[in-house]
């Protein structure tokens, strides 16, 4: 097992993600699915842009804070050729829009809602993610 295992911080961070999604549900009646929130910006409707930009601005602001307070939490440490990053980004961008969600929308929100659609999505993307990560790990000798 990795020496980097962080069960307490990861559970706390997860609980904050869950609290944020719950606030979105209680206050706005919406699902806190990141890919859906971003995707809506590419098919803009009147009155449906501001809250999306504000939420995403909050995500970025948290990152700005981290560059000062905790740069290690933004460490990349995964060596991938630029073409691999281009392919990975395209797959994540197209895949999350085609499949209507990512780790937040299908993972956190969908599983909490006990949606069969989300369960199918999560099982699929976890399994494929594991196969790809294992394959790349075997070919390159690990993440870093």
């Amino acid at each position: 097992m990795s020496p980097e295992f962080t069960p307490v911080l990861s559970t706390l961070g997860g609980a904050l993600i869950g609290a944020s999604a719950s606030a979105m549900l209680l206050l706005e009646g919406r699902v806190a699915g990141i890919s859906g929130i971003v995707g809506g910006l590419f098919t803009p409707k009147a009155g449906d842009i501001g809250w999306r930009l504000a939420f995403l601005g909050g995500l970025v602001l948290a990152g700005v804070g981290a560059t000062v307070l905790s740069p290690a939490s933004l460490a990349v440490e995964v060596v991938r050729a630029p073409w691999m990053l281009v392919v990975a980004g395209l797959f994540v961008g197209v895949g999350t829009r085609l499949g209507n969600g990512c780790t937040s929308g299908h993972g956190v929100c969908g599983l909490s809602r006990m949606s069969p659609r989300s369960l199918a999505s999560v099982v699929t993307f976890m399994a494929v993610g594991a196969v790809v990560a294992v394959a790349v790990g075997q070919l390159t000798g690990g993440a870093s």
């Binding site: 961070g13 993600i17 971003v38 990349v76 895949g95 929100c109 790349v136 993440a143």
Partner: protein, 141 residues
């Protein structure tokens, strides 16, 4: 304005959660998915913590007549499993396993300015934009 400030605050909490949890470190994500490597089960705890909180919210909140600060619910209602869902999940999983970022952490990390984060996030946004263009053209046909 109220809704904008609320969304900003909710986004900040979400981002802090991602940062604390380790989701913004692609090496942790890859080490979670690469079960034959230096396995790091942390991200399972992220999902566990998030669902523990949100599952409870989902049992209680939708009993309200409407959301606190909006006129109506805007929640997904589809329950069918179609080919688009599965192909999308396959593509997303492959990109996640390869790059180590899902959409939220990519956006939170972009301000650190690492070239690999910038390439991944730019490509991800281009993919989302390209999908919208393709989808609009498909619907128009």
């Amino acid at each position: 304005m109220k809704s904008i400030l609320l969304s900003l605050a909710v986004g900040i909490v979400f981002g802090v959660g991602l940062l604390l949890s380790g989701m913004t470190q692609p090496a942790k994500v890859v080490n979670f998915l690469d079960v034959l490597g230096d396995w790091d089960p942390s991200l399972g705890f992220v999902m566990g913590g998030a669902i523990a909180v949100h599952f409870l919210a989902y049992r209680l909140v939708p009993r309200l007549a409407k959301p606190a600060w909006a006129e109506r619910w805007a929640l997904p209602t589809r329950r069918d499993i179609d080919i688009r869902l599965l192909v999308g999940a396959v593509l997303f999983g492959a990109g996640w396993g390869l790059g180590g970022y899902c959409p939220g952490p990519a956006l939170t990390s972009v301000v650190a300015g690492a070239s690999s984060t910038l390439i991944f996030t730019g490509s991800m946004l281009a993919g989302m934009w390209g999908f919208s263009v393709w989808e609009a053209a498909r619907v128009a046909r």
